[in-house]
C-alpha cells in the first residue's frame, strides 16, 4: 500500500512539471502570436492549463479547496473569453 501512495505522488509531481512546461510553451506562443486570435487562443489555453495545475495541486495536497478555486477560474475565464472574443469580432463591447 505504501509504494502505491509514493507512485501516485510521484506521478502527480511529474504531471505538474509537464503542465508547467506546457504553460511556458503556450505563453511563448502567446508572446509570438501571429494575429490577435492566436494570442486570444493562447490565453484561453493558459487558463485551461492553470485549471489543470489547480486540480493537480488539489490532488497533491489532498485539500478540496483547490477544486473551488478551479471552479471560480473556469466560470470567470469562460465569461472573460466570451467578452474578449466579442470585442475582437465587433470592435465594441456592447
Amino acid at each position: 500500500m505504501k509504494t502505491l501512495e509514493i507512485i501516485f505522488t510521484d506521478i502527480l509531481y511529474v504531471s505538474l512539471l509537464i503542465h508547467i512546461v506546457l504553460m511556458s510553451v503556450a505563453f511563448y506562443r502567446v508572446w509570438r502570436g501571429e494575429n490577435v486570435i492566436d494570442r486570444l487562443l493562447g490565453l484561453d489555453l493558459l487558463s485551461t492549463l492553470t485549471l489543470a495545475v489547480l486540480v493537480l495541486l488539489s490532488l497533491i495536497n489532498q485539500r478540496i479547496i483547490y477544486l473551488d478555486i478551479a471552479l471560480g477560474l473556469a466560470a470567470l475565464g469562460f465569461v472573460g473569453m466570451i467578452a474578449l472574443a466579442k470585442y475582437v469580432a465587433d470592435e465594441q463591447m456592447f
Partner: protein, 111 residues
C-alpha cells in the same frame, strides 16, 4: 478498495496529461487558427476532465465538486471555441489549404 481507487486515479492522471500534451503540441504545430481551435479544445475538455476524474477518485470527499466542474467544463468548452471561431471568421482570417471554402458566401465582409 482503496488500492483500486488509487490505480484508477493514476491511470486518469496519466491519460489527462497525455491529452494536455497532445493538445498543446497541436496548438503549436497546426497551420491556421481554426485547426488550432480544435487542438485547444482537446486540452480543455479531455485533459482537465480526466484529471478531475482522478481528483474525484483520489479525494473521496471532493467527488461532488469534481463532477460539477466536469459539467461546467463540458458546457463552456465548446461555447468558448465557437465564440473565438466566429470572431476569427468575422475579422476575416484565411483558412489555409481549404479545399472548398463554404463560409466565403455567408460571412458578411467588413464594408
Amino acid at each position: 478498495m482503496n488500492l483500486f481507487l488509487q490505480v484508477i486515479a493514476i491511470l486518469a492522471v496519466v491519460v489527462g496529461t497525455l491529452f494536455s500534451v497532445v493538445g498543446v503540441v497541436g496548438f503549436i504545430r497546426l497551420p491556421d487558427v481554426y485547426t488550432r481551435l480544435h487542438a485547444t479544445g482537446k486540452v480543455g475538455v479531455f485533459g482537465v476532465v480526466f484529471l478531475l476524474v482522478a481528483a474525484a477518485f483520489g479525494e473521496p470527499l471532493g467527488w461532488g465538486r469534481g463532477l460539477f466542474l466536469i459539467l461546467l467544463l463540458v458546457i463552456t468548452g465548446p461555447a468558448t471555441a465557437h465564440a473565438i471561431g466566429s470572431a476569427a471568421n468575422r475579422i476575416g482570417l484565411p483558412r489555409k489549404g481549404a479545399e472548398r471554402d463554404d463560409l466565403v458566401y455567408t460571412s458578411k465582409s467588413k464594408s
